[in-house]
Amino acid sequence: MRTRHISLPALAALTLLLAACGSQPPAPEQNPAGVESRSPGAIKVDSNPVARVQPDAFDPASIAALKDPRSPLSKRSIYFDYDSYVVKDEFQALLTAHGKFLSANPKIRMLIQGNADERGSREYNLALGQKRADAVRKALILLGARDDQLEAVSLGEEKPVCTEASEECWGKNRRGDMLYSGEF
């Protein structure tokens, strides 16, 4: 599966689609809203764009900012190196934005799901994913979030966004995803 750069209207449409799915069984795949889809054929966003771009400026501390593609808060994934759970510098700005948001919205909770690539033991990978989720959790606390707002869990290698046996693909699966209240 290739990385797909999703256009703004497409992202809005996908967000709506995921929100609609949330109310009915079966539950949707638990990707963070609109980052990637595991089944490209299932959600045809590009062919039929639904324009929902809001023209006015957004408030970075508002709930709406979470799904506004212009906001860094709409980005929810942190990627890790092989066998590593160190948060790389390139994700500091993203974590800072989420830390500030959580600090400004103390009633909002976040589920951090750590993930691992498919190589090796499922249970060890579950523990590795937990380390990644925990690294994100600790970073967010340093940036202003409260511990009781956060839960760090692991999905191990069980929820890959990419299923080819290649380094490019594995890199996408070594990931921490941030889900806000209502998204999990």
Binding site: R122, Y124, L126, A127, Q130, V153, L155
Partner: protein, 427 residues
């Protein structure tokens, strides 16, 4: 609400099960022992259809074990008749089994079997089985177990069951099947992953990890009633359940106090206590059969390796002893039923292979030539090790004898099979 949705989902999934019934595990023998014992299983006399069904399952069981070579017995042989030993000797049989099936007025059957040693011309045993038509396969497995035990001196495992997870598109099923792959039934169907099934020592329950709550939670599932309860659902992740040899407790991995660490809980989910402490990852606990140690995987030394910790004494005072030293990735320890060896997964280059260590000499042998082995599970007699691997990009189960000679492949058409767990001997 979420629970309700799950119930609906499960009900729908179960309805589909009847359609998916032919997706059963098929067993293919890919390697056999060097010195297979030649044995003749004669056609039984009496009820013809029942006899044929029984003997074909008995023959398939013995053949699949890789320890026997089937020899044509010639004519049918009743349990009361004396075998023609001279003829059997020239056919090359070391042992012969005959039998008779009689039907009672209530519709039940009595199958009597006689196993004889051909060179000694002596009777080795003469058991009888009372059964219904629906218990044909179960009866045949018991007959095969009897023959196996008489001829090898070890208990047979043909009557045992295995658990495994089948993944098809967007759907996970925790399945229970006979050791030969037949008679499979889904204990749980879910849209979210299921991993790490573990049999209780009495074979009545399975502990496993399900992700249906968007995070890993440990459940204990009673197989007869289909009821289950949460055994561990703390903040963070809950995983890697292992039963204590008495079936009263579970070792689990929790992250409620930080990274993945070992805890003990009662099987009903009460009384959680910490088992060991490290600054890194501790996971995949397994009790030794004598209850003396818990083996586990830890990265406390920099790379994932296998350690063991004594279970006696205080929870804090015991220090862990490192068990594996070769290579930079040794995981998933599984002590053998006799406690003398340890199966685990070793990474060599980019290959993950099933390895077996003699715990007395600490010598290790690689048992497979595959590259993505996972989740080894000993047969309760210790003779075979069932594990998950990948063939042509698809998950299959495979089994290898602890001497590496006998090899089997167990696969399901058009689905991934993984996470095998061999159930206990239930007498």
């Amino acid at each position: 609400m979420r629970f309700h949705r799950l119930v609906l989902c499960c009900a729908a999934c179960l309805a589909l099960c009847s359609l998916a019934a032919r997706a059963q595990l098929t067993v293919e023998i890919t390697g056999a022992g060097a010195n297979r014992l030649p044995v003749a299983i004669a056609d039984f006399t009496g009820e013809r259809i029942i006899s044929q069904a029984l003997t074909s399952v008995v023959r398939a069981d013995l053949e699949r074990s890789g320890l026997f070579r089937l020899v044509d017995a010639g004519a049918p042989l009743a349990d009361s008749a004396t075998p023609v030993f001279e003829d059997l000797r020239t056919r090359g049989a070391d042992a012969v089994a005959g039998g008779s099936v009689a039907m009672f007025a209530d519709g039940r059957y009595e199958t009597r079997v006689r196993l004889s040693d051909v060179p000694k011309q002596a009777v080795l045993g003469n058991p009888a089985y009372l059964h219904t038509g629906a218990q044909l396969r179960a009866t045949a497995h018991r007959i095969a177990d009897f023959i196996y035990e008489k001829l090898t001196g070890e208990p047979g495992v043909f009557s045992t069951r295995i658990a495994y997870v089948v993944k098809s598109t967007g759907r996970y099923e925790l399945k229970i099947a006979d050791a030969d792959g037949s008679n499979d039934q889904a204990a749980l169907a879910s849209r979210e992953p299921i991993i790490s099934p573990a049999w209780s020592p009495d074979g009545s329950k399975l502990a496993y990890v399900s992700f249906e709550a968007k995070k890993p939670v440990v459940y204990v599932h009673d197989l007869a009633s289909g009821r289950r309860h949460v055994a561990a659902n703390f903040k963070g992740s809950n995983s890697a359940p292992a039963w204590s040899p008495d079936g009263k407790q579970l070792a689990v991995v929790l992250t409620k106090d930080g990274s993945s660490q070992l805890y003990i809980v009662n099987a009903d989910g009460s009384g959680v206590t910490r088992m060991a402490t490290s600054s890194g990852i501790d996971t995949e606990p397994r009790w030794s059969p004598d209850r003396q140690f818990i083996y586990f995987t830890s990265d406390r030394g920099g790379s994932p390796q296998i350690y063991r910790i004594a279970t006696g004494g205080g929870a804090s005072g015991n220090t862990a002893e490192r068990v594996t030293f070769e290579g930079s990735y040794n995981v998933t320890p599984r002590p053998s039923p006799d406690g003398k060896s340890l199966a685990f997964i070793a990474r060599d280059g980019g290959r993950f292979q099933l390895a077996l260590m003699d715990l007395a000499t600490r010598q290790t042998q690689i048992l497979t030539d595959s590259a993505k082995d996972e989740s080894p599970s000993f047969a309760p007699n210790g003779r075979m090790i069932l594990y998950a691997t990948e063939i042509n990009g698809r998950g299959v189960l495979a089994a290898v004898s602890s001497d590496g000679r006998v090899k089997q492949k167990l696969s399901v058409q058009a689905a991934d099979v993984r996470e095998p767990a061999w159930g206990p001997l239930v007498r």
